[in-house]
């Protein structure tokens, strides 16, 4: 019962914060609400016995990505931004489509039953090995190649971001 109450609180706050993120006129506020949202999602992960994921959710999302967003938002002319409409002309179409898909998906999920044998990473196992170690063991053995590829993706992202954002020095 207590667990359900906690979940109810988090679910309600997450949905509310998500709505605030996509509806605020001032982008700085959106970013701030998003920061709060990420903390709540991280807490939800703790609920699901995923401490390491919760940690990187805070460090990478809240710490790195959102700061990047803030920097870019500072480029905008906020005063100008507050005067114009926040939605495009055809926003009802977007609302309708997303609401309809949501309705259908929720309807499907209601009757969803998980039928699968439990895996070997039970809560007891993770508690004994500690979560980070258990995750790391898989990541560096079974998923070593994807892990290396992920590092390449990041490298490419770094180079790409620099090339794209660099001011052209040669003028003609």
């Amino acid at each position: 019962m207590l667990a359900k109450l906690f979940f109810g609180y988090y679910a309600a706050v997450i949905i509310l914060l998500s709505l605030l993120v996509v509806t605020r006129k001032n982008p700085v506020r959106s970013v701030m609400w998003m920061l709060l949202l990420f903390f709540h999602i991280a807490s939800l992960y703790l609920f699901l016995n995923a401490e390491f994921i919760a940690a990187i959710q805070v460090i990478v999302y809240a710490g790195a990505i959102l700061v990047l967003f803030l920097f870019v938002v500072l480029l905008l002319n906020l005063r100008e931004e507050l005067k114009v409409k926040r939605f495009i002309g055809s926003w009802p179409a977007g609302l309708f489509v997303s609401a309809a898909i949501l309705a259908i998906v929720i309807n499907v999920i209601r009757s969803f039953v998980l039928v699968a044998p439990p895996g070997r990473y039970s809560i007891e196992y993770i508690k004994e090995a500690t979560h980070t170690k258990a995750l790391g063991t898989i990541l560096y053995t079974e998923y070593l190649f994807p892990f290396e590829i992920a590092s390449l993706v990041l490298l490419i992202a770094i180079i790409g971001a620099i090339v794209l954002a660099k001011r052209k020095t040669r003028s003609h």
């Binding site: 667990a3 359900k4 979940f7 679910a11 997450i14 949905i15 998500s18 993120v21 996509v22 509806t23 982008p27 970013v31 998003m34 949202l37 990420f38 999602i41 939800l44 699901l48 995923a50 390491f52 959710q57 990478v60 999302y61 990505i65 990047l68 967003f69 870019v72 480029l75 905008l76 931004e81 409409k85 939605f87 926003w91 977007g94 609302l95 489509v97 997303s98 898909i101 949501l102 998906v105 929720i106 999920i109 209601r110 969803f112 998980l114 439990p118 895996g119 990473y121 995750l135 898989i138 990541l139 992920a150 993706v153 990041l154 490419i156 992202a157 770094i158 971001a161 620099i162 794209l164």
Partner: protein, 100 residues
């Protein structure tokens, strides 16, 4: 014990809010944040599945999604900067070079 279905519904809701934001907002930075929202929605469902299936591989996937999201944010924001420099606007409805 909270049923898995609740987590999935939450995940779907966050995802569709992200979709709604992407489809309707004028400001390209907010659209981009909506994409991050969609990714977070997916992450919630993956972690929930991982917990209920007692299988850590779902969380590995989340790990990679966060990696890709970081890369995407770096590149995407760089593109926005380049765009902003050329068009001096962050509003997508003012960009329609592809009009047929």
């Amino acid at each position: 014990m909270v049923p898995l279905n609740w987590y999935l519904m939450l995940s779907a809701t966050v995802f569709m809010i992200g979709v709604f934001g992407f489809l309707t907002r004028k400001n390209i930075i907010i659209m981009f944040m909506s994409v991050e929202l969609m990714l977070n929605g997916v992450n919630i469902s993956l972690v929930a599945f991982s917990h209920y299936l007692q299988d850590l591989r779902g969380q590995i996937l989340v790990f990679f999604i966060i990696t890709v999201a970081a890369a995407e944010a770096a590149i995407g924001l760089a593109i926005i900067i380049a765009l902003f420099r050329n068009k001096s606007t962050a509003h997508v409805d003012e960009m329609n070079e592809m009009k047929g």
